[in-house]
Amino acid sequence: MNSVHDMGGMHGMGPIEYDKNEGAFHEPWEGRAWALISSAGAFSRGRRKNFRFELESIPAADYLRMSYYERLIKTMLDRLLAGKFITQAELDSGKPDPGSPRGTPPLTPAMVEDLFRRRGSLRRDDVRVPARFKNGQQVRARNINPVGHTRLPRYLRGKRGTVTHDHGVFNLQDTDAGGYPLGNSPQHVYTVRFDASEVWGPDGGKRDVIFADLWESYLDRA
């Protein structure tokens, strides 16, 4: 999806707002928001959309206006509403609907440590897939412009780089136009090095390089 979330190389976003002493949360409400998001993650019904697709689907003007946690809260509410875990009337009133059953929170304080420890790797060490590229090989990122989620940023499409590392086999994360996974497509993920002058032309730094981690199907032999 060529939405504004894919902002690598854009100008006009203003100065960096740097707070040298920012702690875990910039404001206390962000901690509550993040804890809610983590804690309510268990509530999901049916086929689940890619959560990055959900974030990227926020209309561009809103995406840029909202902070990180506001975007996450929005997608969480969308999911809770879609799964009928909450109703719009409840959101409007701030109170449970009359007669609605009271549940038992699935996540308890004792489970929090495990939540942090849980490894959610998408690497598929269980399958053997031959690698099409090897270190040092020249590749070119494909020029694709799908309406679904993809991890090939716009600014690298069509550019030539060099494979520097093979990270093994991972499931492709790309989705269809509705946000659902394109299918189980395990393939190698490579780190590819691009010269800034290849990516940005004469406006790129002469001694700057960019590395990105790219699924094999994003790449062609150069």
């Binding site: 976003m13 949360f25 804890a35 840029l64 909450i86 308890t108 420890r117 849980r118 600014y155 790219l214």
Partner: protein, 216 residues
Amino acid sequence: MLAHSGVGQAQEPRDRVQQAVPSDPALRVKALESLLVEKGMVNPATLDAIIETYETKVGPRNGARVVAHAWVDPAFKKRLLSDGTAAIAELGYGGSQGEHMVVLENSAKVHNLVVCTLCSCYPWPVLGLPPTWYKSAPYRSRAVIDPRGVLREFGLQLPDDVEVRVWDSTADVRYLVLPERPAGTEAMTEDQLAALVTRDSMVGVAKVTVAAGGTA
């Protein structure tokens, strides 16, 4: 009427909108929490435990210990640079968003900088949650096209002959920068060294200095 109609507000659209949001996010999140608690979907004690974990257990102090250990133990440093995930696990750190760690060594000739242009991917087990600037559009957009200008905004002016390497976290690998050990720290203990290492230096937007050890 004129004063109220605010002719000049067209000058500051950003401020205007921020002021104008009818209820601030803090109030909305508070109301949402009490709704979800009343419905029995979340447990407030669980929320407290999650927040406490990020404030006291999972954060940049973990990364700082990894860095300090690498500075004093050459064999560990070698393992860290060849298999970041395994070496970091030796110190007890790992988990979600740290499953595939790569550690990048800064030197007098090479400066590494980490970004996630598409979202805000970040190595949680060693750095905690990303700071606001890392998640915001100015950093995400410009780090890849003007890394030296971005570093200057953080107060870091690099010599022209230093190679800048920008790492865009587009897949499941997460990056940690191993900053240069500052001169004049030969006599320091590992704990003293760890206290010097800032979060910003492990993302690559700052160097470690003897004076600058702080909370970031």
